[in-house]
C-alpha cells in the first residue's frame, strides 16, 4: 500500500503548476552596493505580493514576487528613487500593492483610529478614577 501511494505521488503533477523558467538574477541575489541593497530591501518589505496577499514581496516565494523583487533591484541599481518605484506600481495595481496607506479621505478613519481609541480609553479610565475618588 505504502509503495503504491509513493508511486502515485511520483506520477501526480501539481494541479496548478508554476513555470519551470528559473527566476531572474536579481530575484534572490543581493545588489553589490550595500546602500542600494538596503534601499531595495526597505522598499520590498512594504510592497504587497499579488499572489500571497498577506505577504510582502520580500517574504513571498511566489514567482511574481520574485519578478517584482528583480524589478525593484534593477530599478534601484539604475538610480530610481524608492518612492518613484512605489508610485509606478501603485499606478498599475492601486494603493492595494503598497503596505503604506496614503492619507486621503478614504483612509482618514484608519489614521484617526489610534487617536480615537486612546481618547476613548482615557475617557473610560477617568470615569473609573472618579468613581473611586
Amino acid at each position: 500500500m505504502k509503495h503504491f501511494l509513493l508511486v502515485l505521488a511520483l506520477i501526480a503533477a501539481p494541479a496548478l503548476a508554476d513555470t519551470d523558467l528559473p527566476q531572474s538574477r536579481w530575484a534572490n541575489e543581493q545588489l553589490p552596493d550595500a546602500h542600494q541593497e538596503a534601499a531595495a530591501q526597505a522598499l520590498m518589505g512594504t510592497l504587497r505580493c499579488l499572489v500571497c496577499q498577506g505577504q510582502s514581496i520580500a517574504d513571498s516565494d511566489a514567482d511574481l514576487a520574485g519578478s517584482m523583487r528583480a524589478m525593484v533591484r534593477t530599478r534601484i541599481a539604475a538610480g530610481q528613487k524608492p518612492d518613484a518605484i512605489r508610485a509606478w506600481l501603485v499606478s498599475r495595481y492601486g494603493n492595494w500593492v503598497s503596505f503604506v496607506p496614503p492619507v486621503e479621505p478614504l483612509t482618514w478613519p484608519l489614521w484617526a483610529a489610534p487617536l480615537a481609541l486612546l481618547l476613548a480609553g482615557l475617557w473610560l479610565a477617568r470615569h473609573r478614577f472618579r468613581r473611586r475618588g
Binding site: D63, M71, R92, Y93, V97
Partner: protein, 173 residues
C-alpha cells in the same frame, strides 16, 4: 442598562466578524490601467523569425483581446477552446506568454490549438506587471485606439463568452 454596554459591543463585534467570515471580500486585484492606453511594450515574438510586438500592435482600429497565458498554466488549457471560438468569430487575439520558452509555447499551441494573431514572450513578467496583471490567465479588451476597456481575471469559460462579446461590442463603439 449600563452593565450591558460591553456585552452589546461584544455581540456587535462577533456579528460583524462572522458576517465577514460568511461573505469574504474578493481577492482579485484589478488593473488600474482600465480606460487607459496599453503601456509602451516591446516583446520578442514567440515564433522564431517574427518581428517583435510593439505598442502599435495594440491600436489597430478594431477592438481586440490581449490574453496573458503560460504553457505551464493549467486553467489556460481549459480556456483555449473559448479563445479558439472567439477567433473563429473574427476576433483578433494577441497572446502574451508569461515566463515561458518558445519551444514550450509551440508545444502548448500544438496540443491546444492556436487562437493568437501573434504572441509576445514575457520572460521576466515585466509586461505582466506593466499591464497591472496579477496572474494567468487574464484577458484585456483593447479598443481600436489601443485603450484598455475591460479586464477579465481568470480563465474565460463558456459562461463568460457573452460578456466578452458584449465588452468587445462596447469597445467597438
Amino acid at each position: 442598562m449600563k452593565r450591558f454596554g460591553p456585552l452589546a459591543v461584544f455581540i456587535a463585534l462577533v456579528l460583524a466578524l462572522s458576517w465577514r467570515l460568511a461573505h469574504p471580500s474578493g481577492t482579485a486585484v484589478y488593473s488600474q490601467l482600465v480606460d487607459r492606453p496599453v503601456p509602451a511594450l516591446t516583446l520578442p515574438d514567440a515564433a522564431p523569425g517574427q518581428p517583435p510586438i510593439t505598442a502599435a500592435a495594440f491600436a489597430t482600429g478594431k477592438p481586440q483581446l490581449v490574453n496573458l497565458f503560460g504553457s505551464w498554466c493549467v486553467p489556460c488549457i481549459a480556456e483555449a477552446p473559448q479563445l479558439k471560438h472567439l477567433q473563429s468569430e473574427g476576433v483578433r487575439i494577441i497572446g502574451i506568454a508569461v515566463r515561458d520558452r518558445p519551444e514550450a509555447v509551440a508545444a502548448f499551441l500544438g496540443e491546444n490549438g492556436n487562437p493568437y494573431a501573434s504572441i509576445g514572450l514575457d520572460r521576466g513578467s515585466d509586461a505582466q506587471v506593466a499591464l497591472g496583471s496579477s496572474g494567468v490567465p487574464e484577458t484585456f479588451v483593447v479598443d481600436g485606439r489601443g485603450v484598455i476597456r475591460r479586464q477579465f481575471i481568470g480563465g474565460i469559460d463558456e459562461g463568460a463568452l457573452p460578456e466578452v462579446r458584449r465588452a468587445l461590442a462596447e469597445a467597438a463603439r
